[in-house]
């Protein structure tokens, strides 16, 4: 009975989406409940899997649950899903944020809600697949699959510039994914040449011996796809548009989950498959990660649109993930994963709040909002909670994530860490500005609005609860990721026995340059 559940994590949202679409004709209400029910089922299954398997997960780095059968034998492709301590957290997060997304779009979507839920839940099914796939072909399949319904979510139900944003989103992500596809095929052929078996299975391909010149290009293919999704500094320009124009549920999915697929891909695939190439490029990657931290925060400061502002802070926060991954040490990696989870919750919540504000005042412009605290005390209190979470106040999840990332990266590149800390300060300024503008000051609009409805209260309450739980009791999540990440780190160092220092030694030479460029970035 157990192995079925992994596929069910993908199938239930998908079937629920179809169900919502079919029930829409009966009544939009039924469609909503079907969507919520299927997402709640998925979340419960994911949670149940984690709880029942957590004891096993804590003792083994290997996948604890697998499902596998031949899919396309001619191409060496298996339908191979697996669950280990690393992806189980993302699966649970996907289930949870899926419920949040369904609930926040409860009243927002006026026009064909059934179709909206179909797109929403298909995206979620694709994201689940991305986190669970242990076959590169299958991974790519889901990786592309989640884009199309997301494209429709932005393009059909988004705000005023939705079409432009949707097209930009798809062009950026799909064009970069094509390089991933070529790299996957290239890797499989390199493996076939070395071992005579053409396969796209992740566990088999791990440790394929590659000449450095080949590995470099293949790594580049993987890296570009993940960097665009993350998004990393020069590839980020799709993100503010997509996040801003998407409907609330779409923004939550984008910020909370889609960005995480990029970080997850780096940790799971890009670096472990090409450790030497990754090590050789660790410095530049760390540097652009730090540039992203500063750049995102600086740009966020200049925004006048509340969703755009939050979107740019995402760029900044994802920079920490890249910094953590580039050093490839256990603590930094754990921090990066933790940061992704916490950021998913906090930023998802901020986007939900932005949606609630937009629903009440019909604007996202910061200068048309103000004095919310006196009018909407409950909403404002929650806003403050998530703002504090987002800037990394101790006791909240993001604090643990950032702290671990910075601690873990410090031995490798102290000066980059110093610059990154400056980024935290900038992020704090941005968020306080947001609080100042929106919650304090004179009320801009005199219209009477109601405070949080019970449904919204439940959503924000649950999110705040989880943010606090992550911050106060980080051990379960850390314990879960410890062994799988440790194994990845050890494997890659042993795979590169000549110089285990390579991962930490090099960065020092480049730091002066970074600081200079980072300063340049921060000036305008």
């Amino acid at each position: 009975m157990l192995p079925v559940t992994l596929s069910a994590l993908i199938a239930v949202p998908f079937v629920g989406g179809i169900g919502a679409w079919l029930f829409e004709r009966r009544s939009p209400g039924t469609a909503r409940w079907v969507a919520l029910l299927s997402m709640a089922t998925t979340f419960c299954m994911a949670l149940w899997l984690w709880l029942t398997l957590s004891a096993t997960i804590a003792t083994t780095p290997e996948p604890v649950l697998q499902q596998r059968f031949n899919w396309i034998p001619q191409l060496g492709v298996d339908y191979h899903l697996a669950l280990d301590g690393l992806n189980v957290l993302f699966v649970v997060l996907t289930g949870f944020l899926g419920c949040v997304a369904v609930l926040t779009s409860w009243r927002e979507i006026k026009h064909s809600p059934g179709l909206h839920y179909l797109c929403l839940l298909t995206t979620l099914a694709g994201i689940m697949g991305v986190f669970l796939a242990f076959d590169l072909f299958l991974f790519y399949f889901f990786w592309e699959l989640m884009l199309v319904p997301m494209y429709f979510l932005i393009g059909v139900w988004g705000h005023e510039n939705r079409v432009r944003a949707a097209v930009k989103f798809v062009i950026f992500t799909m064009a970069s994914s094509l390089f991933l596809l070529v790299a996957i095929i290239g890797l499989s052929y390199a493996h076939a040449q070395a071992n005579g078996i053409f396969t796209t299975d992740y566990l088999t391909l791990l440790g394929t011996p590659l000449p450095f010149a080949t590995a470099r290009w293949l790594f580049f293919g993987f890296f570009v796809a993940f960097a665009v999704k993350l998004p990393l500094f020069p590839f980020h320009s799709w993100l503010p548009d997509a996040h801003t124009q998407a409907p609330t549920a779409g923004s939550i999915l984008l910020a909370g989950l889609l960005l995480k697929t990029g970080g997850y891909g780096l940790i799971r695939f890009a670096v472990p498959l090409f450790p030497e190439a990754a090590a050789a490029y660790a410095d530049p990657i760390a540097i652009i990660g730090v540039i992203g931290i500063i750049y995102g925060a600086v740009l966020a400061y200049g925004q006048t649109d509340i969703k755009r502002l939050i979107a740019y802070t995402s760029v900044s926060h994802m920079g920490f993930v890249v910094l953590g991954v580039s050093t490839w040490r256990l603590m930094a990696l754990q921090g990066a994963v933790f940061q992704m989870l916490a950021h998913g919750l906090a930023t998802g919540a901020l986007f939900a709040i932005a949606g609630m504000i937009h629903e009440r005042f019909h604007t996202r412009a910061l200068d048309k909002l103000g004095g919310l605290w006196s009018k909407l005390p409950r909403l404002s209190a929650f806003t403050l909670v998530f703002v504090l979470a987002s800037v990394g106040v101790p006791g909240m999840g993001n604090f643990i994530g950032e702290l671990l990332t910075l601690l873990g990266s410090f031995p490798a590149s102290p000066s980059l860490v110093v610059v990154a800390v400056a980024g935290i300060v900038l992020g704090l300024v941005v968020m306080l500005e947001l609080v100042q503008q929106v919650l304090k000051g004179p009320a801009y609009s005199q219209a009477r609005v109601i405070d949080l409805r019970p449904r919204e209260l439940i959503v924000l309450g649950a999110l705040a609860f989880l943010v606090l739980v992550l911050g106060l009791f980080p051990q379960p999540a850390l314990k879960s990721t410890r062994l799988p990440l440790d194994q990845l780190v050890i494997r890659d160092v042993t795979f590169n026995p000549a110089d285990p220092e390579i991962l930490r030694g090099r960065t020092r030479t480049a730091t002066t340059r970074t600081t200079a460029s980072a300063k340049q970035e921060s000036r305008p």
Partner: protein, 496 residues
């Protein structure tokens, strides 16, 4: 020629006989609807006879034709395509009050030509098949003889296709002079040998002959820079005929070309580089020009040029994997292109002119949700996005390129398809998320009401389009049986 040989040729014979029957029935005043059903019946019998012929394969019927799994696969594919075209054509012709006798019999004769092409192992049958196909297409293109555009397309096609045929024929003659044979296998082997002895008259004849063959095929397949006719013809032709040119005609020519090239010795270095150059030009030319179009059929014309470019990538990569990729790609290409033009034809069924302009597709998602879904699946497949067959086709071509050591071509293909995503998505934007739709919904409704609102309900078209959509999705999700069939076909072809 024994009885068994005749039985082996049954599919071709059935198609030819049914073409004649349809023509005669038309002459005796059969109604359009009867002819339509007769055509479908003919295709059905032909497909049934393919099943009965299967045990006889592989079999050489005279030196001209060879019935093996390869030709059987392609006959199945192309005959089914003709069946779907016949179904789609009916409401289209009915709306234009065209008599159908010549149309349906020409359709069957064109199909006969395609069947001969995919079976041919000899230049004589290749040329005869090609001419049967092309001459039928002249008639079909000009079928709506009151339409200026249609006539213009027919004249353009007539001149350029005749020129291409002339080039082909001249090339064949030169190769015959150089090698003394017209059988594919002998010609390829002997001319490769002749080319090695530089300076001899045989070498010169063979070189010029090969060049002319390449140019002739490039015209037929609309490869850049020999593509100029294709957008005009696609735009001017009646939508179902455009579909026939894009799928059947190109598919059959590629199938014959692949069989011809399979005999080229593996150490030949010239051919892959020629193919690679043409592939790069065609992919980028087709996709870049498609970006500029505002007319559905023209855009699809450039898109199909680009897709033949992807096919050439696999062809240039060579080897068994390359041939398999070509065949697999072709199957999906035929399905998705038929589906796309099928939607255009169904939408054009009620109008007096074909629905070409992108504007006419605004808000299709609201007006005709079913057709919109079909068109979106086809666009996603053409763009190569999972879970459609187009993705697997692209995957297999990329695999073939990398396996054949042509990473450069793989990268070029990736860049070209990145461009292509843009214009395929534009169609989805127009269908589902037209920003102007909200503001001038009433106005556009008024414009479009006359054209498309009550599509005349025929049972056939929805069934055909649904079948194509399911096929494209099935190949994308469960490709195993298709890949197996392709593998068997290619091994039978290469073994010959």
């Amino acid at each position: 020629m024994s009885n068994t040989d005749l039985v082996a040729l049954l599919p071709l014979i059935v198609v030819a006989v049914m073409g004649t029957v349809v023509m005669l029935a038309g002459a005796y005043g059969a109604r359009r609807v009867t002819l339509h059903w007769l055509t479908i019946l003919g295709v059905g019998i032909a497909l049934a006879s393919i099943v009965s012929v299967r045990p006889l394969a592989p079999r050489d019927v005279t030196p001209l034709l060879r019935i093996d799994s390869y030709s059987i696969l392609f006959m199945t594919l192309l005959f089914s395509g003709t069946g779907i075209l016949a179904i789609i054509s009916h409401p289209y012709l009915r709306a234009r009050r065209c008599a159908g006798e010549a149309y349906y019999s020409l359709l069957l004769f064109a199909t006969f030509g395609m069947g001969v092409l995919v079976c041919s192992t000899h230049f004589a049958s290749l040329f005869l098949g090609l001419e049967t196909l092309t001459v039928s297409l002249y008639g079909l293109l000009a079928y709506l003889r009151t339409e200026r555009q249609s006539l213009e397309a027919a004249i353009k096609y007539l001149i350029l296709a005749a020129m291409a045929s002339g080039l082909l024929l001249f090339g064949i003659a030169l190769l015959y002079a150089a090698t003394g044979s017209l059988v594919f296998a002998n010609v390829t082997a002997l001319s490769a040998e002749a080319l090695k002895t530089a300076g001899s008259p045989e070498a010169i004849w063979a070189a010029v002959g090969v060049l002319m063959l390449i140019v002739g095929f490039a015209f037929k397949l609309a490869l850049v820079p020999f593509h100029m006719w294709s957008p005009d013809v696609y735009q001017g032709a009646p939508a179902p005929v455009t579909a026939l040119i894009a799928t059947g005609s190109k598919g059959a020519v590629v199938a014959a070309l692949l069989r011809l090239l399979s005999g080229v010795p593996a150490d030949d270095s010239l051919l892959p580089s020629v193919l690679a150059t043409l592939a790069i030009l065609t992919m980028f030319g087709g996709n870049l020009l498609a970006l500029l179009q505002t007319d559905m059929k023209r855009m699809l014309a450039y898109s199909s040029i680009a897709h033949i470019g992807y096919l050439l990538v696999a062809m240039a990569a060579g080897g068994v994997v390359g041939s398999e990729a070509v065949v697999f790609y072709l199957i999906i290409y035929v399905a998705m292109t038929l589906g796309t033009f099928g939607v255009v034809a169904v939408l054009s069924a009620k109008a007096n002119t074909d629905i070409d302009d992108f504007n006419a597709y605004r808000g299709l998602g609201r007006r005709h949700p079913g057709l919109a879904i079909v068109l979106s699946v086809m666009m996603l497949s053409l763009a190569g996005i999972p879970p459609t067959g187009g993705f697997l086709a692209k995957f297999s071509v990329l695999s073939a390129a990398i396996a054949g050591g042509r990473t450069d071509l793989a990268i070029a293909m990736v860049l070209a398809s990145a461009i292509a995503i843009f214009y395929y998505l534009r169609v989805l934007v127009v269908i589902y998320m037209d920003p102007k739709a909200a503001s001038d919904a009433s106005q556009s409704k008024a414009n479009l009401a006359s054209e498309t609102s009550p599509i005349q309900a025929t049972l056939g078209s929805p069934v055909a389009l649904t079948a194509l959509t399911l096929m494209v999705l099935a190949i994308g999700i469960f490709p195993e049986p298709w890949l197996e069939a392709v593998g068997a076909a290619v091994s039978s072809m290469i073994g010959s």
